[in-house]
């Protein structure tokens, strides 16, 4: 698979667009009648890709290179569990697992994940049975509004898997990439500690 990063793909996409864009026809004053205007800035990099999400194959067709994994999941695969809080890697609301590792889905392009196995919050429960992390989040009231919760939970699953739950301080440190403006942090720490015990 070619090595893409969000930065170099966006750069080349941007440059291509700018090159096509530069010689703008001198026309009349702007009017909103797009169908009469020449299509100039269509990014070229469009691809079909396959994501295995929560054990199901999702074939996404005609995805532009600039589409992030997060927007591919939310706007194209119909999986809105992962949330967008900042779209720049700051809040962690979009955290998902890619081949078992936690990543911020807004910081990676969908094409870069072609063929990978993605787990989102929708894929944690086994039928009616919740994952121990989900159960612990409910029991400990580790959320209020719940918008950061899908990311917190995915991060917690990975944090436990990584073995970063040795102490409360360690959990605090390794869960600090996920912001919670409702500020449920103490309850999140309790939930992760509980779940770590249950998972072992």
């Amino acid at each position: 698979m070619p090595e893409h990063s969000r930065r170099n793909v966006l750069k080349s996409g941007g440059a291509a667009a700018a090159a096509v864009m530069a010689p703008l026809p001198d026309g009349p004053r702007p009017v909103t009648a797009p169908h009469q205007v020449r299509q100039a800035a269509q990014p070229k990099a469009v691809t079909d890709l396959t994501l295995e999400v929560n054990g199901e194959r999702h074939r996404l067709e005609g995805v532009e290179a600039r589409v992030t994994l997060l927007d591919a999941l939310r706007e194209r695969a119909g999986l809105t569990g992962a949330k967008k809080g900042c779209d720049r890697g700051e809040c962690g609301a979009c955290t998902v697992l890619a081949d078992g590792r936690r990543i911020k889905a807004c910081l990676t392009l969908a094409v870069m994940q072609d063929g990978r196995s993605i787990t989102t919050v929708e894929g944690l429960a086994r039928g009616e049975r919740l994952h121990p992390v989900q159960e612990a989040f409910i029991r400990r009231d580790a959320f209020q509004c719940g918008i950061c919760t899908p990311g917190q939970i995915m991060s917690a699953v990975a944090c436990i898997e990584e073995g970063h739950t040795g102490s409360e301080d360690e959990i605090r440190e390794w869960m600090s990439g996920n912001l919670c403006r409702c500020s449920c942090y103490p309850n999140i720490v309790d939930a992760v500690a509980d779940a770590a015990k249950a998972v072992r």
């Binding site: 864009m21 703008l24 026809p25 026309g27 702007p30 009017v31 909103t32 797009p34 205007v37 299509q39 100039a40 800035a41 269509q42 990014p43 532009e64 600039r66 589409v67 927007d71 706007e75 119909g78 999986l79 809105t80 569990g81 949330k83 967008k84 809080g85 900042c86 779209d87 720049r88 700051e90 809040c91 989102t120 919050v121 929708e122 944690l124 429960a125 989900q134 409910i138 009231d141 959320f143 209020q144 509004c145 719940g146 918008i147 950061c148 919760t149 899908p150 605090r172 440190e173 869960m175 912001l179 919670c180 403006r181 409702c182 500020s183 449920c184 942090y185 103490p186 309850n187 999140i188």
Partner: protein, 726 residues
């Protein structure tokens, strides 16, 4: 009545949806034929657009329309008050602040809309140097606003100061803050003919409905607003902001549903903020710690087009028994976006007052807890009315005991642990609650004895779904599993906005009233129904519990709700109209430990103990979580949060979550929470008062007071960053 439903630490009733990703937030709502909107924002703060070129944007792939002030349909400036902005953008070439929308793009995909917004070319003419900082403007006294007068006098301050043995005077500055809920503001507008359904991130369905109706000239009944799950608001989603109106207008113009989600950067100029505030406060007291006078002047930013002030002065006017007092709220006009309310609007004046009281206690050589107790009042000092209840003095005692306050050596710098300086500080938490219009409610009792209640209110994470389910279960005497509480739809009887700690008392009262009416009606049926075991029993002798009605004289004589209503053969319907909720005052005491690295000036909050009096605690779990949230917001307010404005351009330079620091998990210490949990007789919501805003107050000053205790330094300019201690 069941006595074990209210107060129980029931897990949130919507928990499962929230941990599985199934809860549908506004930006998650799927609508056929949806288009995506995105806005281009002004890069200057003061001036006008001289030329706007949309050709490149319109030519970009997937673009359906690009609206500018030349092409956007005309909208009417709403007069409905919670539209705070004095203008609707993209209606004229005038620019009033940086980050003002100048173009609205609609495209097939989000990426296409975002890209096209970047391609809109705008030329501006600047009309003078923009003012971005409080110190740049000239303060003036604005006429009284809808929140009351900007001046307040009690007694004669000069005389009170003359009677004082000790006087302190201090100035405090608090920077601009942003709400930053993790969920961005989002609107999806779906028109069907001349009617519109607006999926909206809102703390006030009714506000959105009124403003959309007025701005787009649509009858009120033709606007339906839906907001079932809200990803936090903290005040930002209480007023209606221009982007909502613009999204509705764009959807109507293109003839297809449009979804607009603000970017994080947009959220720094589109939905209000806590205005930068300067405060001067003087306090005089006698040797024995009785405050004789308090003189307070605050100055905060407004725009050139409005004078709405939200850093309000209630703690100054209401809290302590101070005979001579003067309070003035001044304003300065700047070229910034409109300010608004943000979690705990009373936190600013509380901060100045509670920090100044610490200075006074130090000057008097009096324990800061004792100073506050000596000036405690059981009344609302602003109008002299007795509060329904006020157990603040007990809060001081219980929190102090839990914290171990009696072991404190009051001398600054006296407590150390290894290389670190340790400081202990405290303050009073206090915030008004309720005192706003109430809420309607309707209910259906089905033939199986299950209650379905609908209120056009909101759950911001505050626990509305859960506590209203509990109130209904408690009042009716049925298990919570048999209660379905629905909210978030303007087609339901509306509540007032969910803000200012009004939802628990307002909606709680409505749910209590509608359920009480239903219970009474079913009791009447049970005592008159042929064949009913309760037939002939006097209605006042009947009580309910566990899904049953029973004779209190002989509890074995009982019948289930299900059987009584089933016997009637049809569901029962009830509805109540709103009644205003009384103004309440929820208070508490908060104690904080900080540790300061003397070489680096690094401050860590290491321990917090708070005890609070919210009236009846409706749910110990969700109430405790609200306290944690408030305390952690207080940590952010005091140590990190700061929206930076470039004075040369009046542009916000850190409109993101890596430059605007909010607390993360590693910043948060051990927090212990206690409640008095005694009903307020003035509340019709089973003795509960509004409470959400209280816990953030006090903790800010308690941290600053603890830093003084640790270091001997008074830092009066927030945030309390390392450089200020070095």
């Amino acid at each position: 009545m069941n006595t074990d439903v209210v107060g129980r630490p029931l897990s949130r009733v919507e928990s499962r949806l929230k941990v599985t990703g199934a809860a549908e937030y506004t930006a998650d709502v799927r609508v056929p034929r949806l288009l995506h909107g995105f806005m281009a924002m002004s890069t200057i703060a003061r001036g006008r657009i001289t030329r706007i070129d949309t050709r490149a944007a319109e030519a970009a792939g997937g673009v359906v329309a690009v609206y500018t002030h030349e092409t956007m349909p005309r909208l009417k400036q709403p007069t409905y008050r919670p539209f705070f902005k004095p203008f609707i953008p993209i209606q004229s070439p005038e620019i009033h602040h940086a980050g003002q929308p100048v173009a609205f793009v609609v495209a097939q995909t989000l990426e296409q809309a975002q890209r096209a917004a970047e391609l809109v070319e705008v030329e501006y003419e600047e009309t003078g140097r923009p003012l971005g900082e409080l110190a740049m403007g000239v303060p003036f006294l604005a006429p009284s606003g809808p929140d009351g007068p900007n001046t307040f006098e009690r007694g004669d301050v000069a005389e009170g100061m003359a009677r004082a043995d000790v006087r302190v005077e201090a100035e405090f500055t608090i920077p601009m803050h942003h709400h930053n809920p993790i969920e961005p503001h989002a609107t999806t507008a779906v028109w069907k003919g001349s009617k519109v359904t607006v999926y909206e991130t809102t703390q006030a369905l009714g506000n959105t409905q009124h403003v959309v109706s007025e701005a787009l000239d649509v009858p009120l009944d033709d606007v339906r607003v839906i907001s079932r799950y809200l990803g936090g608001g903290f005040g930002s989603k209480g007023p209606v902001w221009a982007h909502t109106v613009l999204a509705c207008a764009a959807a109507r113009a293109v003839g297809r549903p449009v979804k607009l989600v603000l970017s994080r950067a947009h959220m720094f100029t589109s939905n209000g903020h806590r205005a930068e505030t300067h405060q001067r406060i003087g306090i005089g007291a006698t040797r024995d710690g009785r405050i004789t006078a308090l003189d307070h002047v605050s100055t905060q930013q407004v725009t050139r087009g409005d004078v709405a002030l939200f850093n309000s002065s209630e703690p100054i006017r209401m809290l302590y028994d101070i005979p001579h007092l003067s309070n003035v709220q001044r304003t300065v006009r700047l070229d910034l976006p409109t300010q608004s309310f943000i979690r705990s609007p009373e936190a600013c004046s509380s901060h100045a007052q509670e920090a100044a009281l610490d200075e006074l206690a130090h000057a008097l050589k009096l324990d800061p807890v004792e100073l506050r107790k000596r000036n405690w009042s059981s009344r609302n000092m602003a109008d002299g009315e007795e509060w329904g209840s006020n157990y603040l003095r007990e809060c001081y005692d219980r929190a102090a005991a839990k914290f171990g306050w009696s072991r404190r050596d009051p001398r600054p710098g006296s407590m150390r642990d290894g290389g670190e300086l340790v400081g202990w500080g405290m303050a009073t938490s206090a915030h008004t609650a309720g005192g706003r219009p109430g809420s309607g409610a309707r209910m259906t009792f089905d033939v199986r004895g299950r209650a379905r209640i609908q209120v056009g209110t909101h759950d911001l994470g505050t626990g509305t779904y859960t506590i209203m389910t509990q109130i209904a279960g408690e009042v009716l005497g049925i298990p919570v599993e048999d209660v379905l509480f629905e909210l978030g739809d303007s087609a339901f009887p509306l509540s007032y906005a969910s803000g200012a700690s009004t939802t628990a008392p307002g909606v709680g009262t409505a749910v209590n009233r509608v359920c009480s009416a239903a219970r009474k009606a079913v009791i009447e049926m049970a005592v008159s129904q042929p064949g009913s075991p309760l037939r002939g029993v006097p209605a006042e002798r009947v009580d309910t519990g566990d899904g049953h009605l029973f004779d209190t004289a002989d509890r074995r004589t009982r019948v289930s709700y299900r059987s009584v209503i089933g016997h009637g053969g049809k569901p029962l319907h009830f509805e109540v109209e709103p009644v205003d909720t009384p103004l309440g005052y929820s208070t508490g005491a908060v104690f904080v430990e900080v540790r300061v690295d003397p070489l680096l000036g690094r401050i860590r909050v290491t321990r917090v103990v708070g005890c609070y009096d919210p009236g009846t605690v409706l749910n110990r779990k969700t109430a405790r979580s609200q306290v944690l949230g408030g305390i952690i917001w207080g940590i952010g307010f005091t140590l990190f949060e700061h929206t930076l404005v470039d004075p040369a351009t009046a542009r916000i330079v850190n409109p993101n979550l890596s430059g605007y620091l909010i607390p993360v998990n590693a910043d948060v210490p051990d927090i212990q929470v206690q409640f008095i949990d005694r009903p307020d007789p003035a509340s019709d919501a089973l003795g509960a008062r509004g409470f959400g805003e209280t816990p953030m107050t006090g903790v800010t000053a308690a941290i600053a007071n603890a830093v003084f205790h640790a270091t001997g330094k008074r830092v009066r300019d927030l945030p309390l960053t390392q450089d200020k201690l070095l």
